[in-house]
Symmetry: C2
Subunit: 225 residues, 2 copies
């Protein structure tokens, strides 16, 4: 399978499979979250309009998204919740366990490590690093804080493929370079800086100030109406 | 100006102005961040290819995005950095001060309140709330933790239009309803739950587990290549 340039989430098809947009992949995560909750509540069958209504997406888009998973819907019945969950988890690659490390032992990392949802989704945080000598040796949510000098050794031992980067902007690129050299495959970056990574390393950036700015823009727009 | 249905960031034009996609608006925030850094470093003129290269966006897209701001580029010269910053800040609605409150005094809120970037962008956090009686009265980053019962009173006093919601999933909708009743205009939601809000209240949702899942998907895809 080849990845198309310009859209990191686009999947080139084998055998003419249509491309998947980044927005569809984001919705896959949201469908999955919703279906898991509904399944726990006892719902065994779900319709595209139920999913669409809960996520403010129109029916046709939901059906189009779910068609990427194969022929799962039953006309006049809907989708079997468990079947859809299995297909979504498989498509997203979360029907397995992912080992992840965290660099930066600040408040954001504590919030992340404390959040139970990750374990349910198959994400295991296996090591925590911080350059601050005063933090090294402390235990945060069950993980001892270790020196970044140990990243290569620990990455080899834990087989971690993902890293969460929650360090100050000034040190983010340096730490990212260390992670790349140690063989990391993907970085979730919270530092407010644009990282330069080689093509074989995936990147998702979450800049909290950008999110607040986007919200202000929406409010600003609505006030002009 | 009217907002088009289906895309919360789309701007209907006055006088045939073309629509702005959500992706363009996200890039506006990133251009602005970059230009402010470059401006501090002394750069007075910038080209679309410099911006494009730094953000891994092609030149033509950068020029198309910036054309929404008016005729700012000078052929053969580029864009004046300060002029572009002013235009972006105006377009995004961040050429003014926004008062924001935070609900939930956990680690994520501490990380947000500690982040200096918000003040630079004109965001002022004016109040902090938490329902935990043990936290009420504590001072976090200069803000006393107050009971959510005080939200209506404080919102009226601070004229806060934005709220950051960093509370457990179980209480998120209830708190959101209180904020709406008290007159909030926009919510940045970190709780892993889909909020139902009236149409006049804007919403940006950041689900950290979804972000990690998206990263896993990208790595999963690249491993199939």
């Amino acid at each position: 399978m080849s990845k198309s340039a310009g859209d990191p989430a686009a999947t080139g098809g084998t055998g003419g499979e249509p491309k998947l947009s980044r927005a569809s992949v984001q919705r896959f995560s949201l469908y999955l979250r919703l279906l898991e909750r509904w399944s726990q509540e006892g719902l065994t069958v779900v319709s595209s309009s139920q999913l669409g209504e809960a996520l403010a997406v129109n029916d046709a888009q939901v059906r189009k998204d779910l068609a990427y998973l194969g022929s799962l819907g039953q006309p006049g019945i809907g989708y079997y919740t468990r079947e859809l969950i299995t297909a979504l988890r498989h498509r997203l690659g979360v029907d397995r366990t992912w080992s992840a490390i965290v660099v930066g032992a600040g408040n954001l990392s504590r919030a992340l490590l404390r959040y139970r949802g990750f374990a349910e989704q198959g994400f295991q945080f296996t090591a925590l690093f911080d350059a601050d000598p005063q933090k090294i040796g402390q235990v945060v949510e069950g993980l001892p804080v270790q020196s970044p000098a140990k990243i290569p050794e620990i990455l080899a031992a834990t087989k971690a493929e993902l890293a969460v980067l929650a360090v100050p902007a000034e040190s983010a690129q340096h730490v990212a370079d260390m992670l790349v050299a140690a063989g990391i495959r993907g970085i979730l970056n919270f530092a407010p800086v644009m990282l330069k990574l080689p093509a074989h390393v995936s990147l998702i950036a979450v800049d909290l100030a950008v999110q607040l700015e986007q919200l202000a823009f929406l409010v600003h727009l609505s006030q002009q109406e």
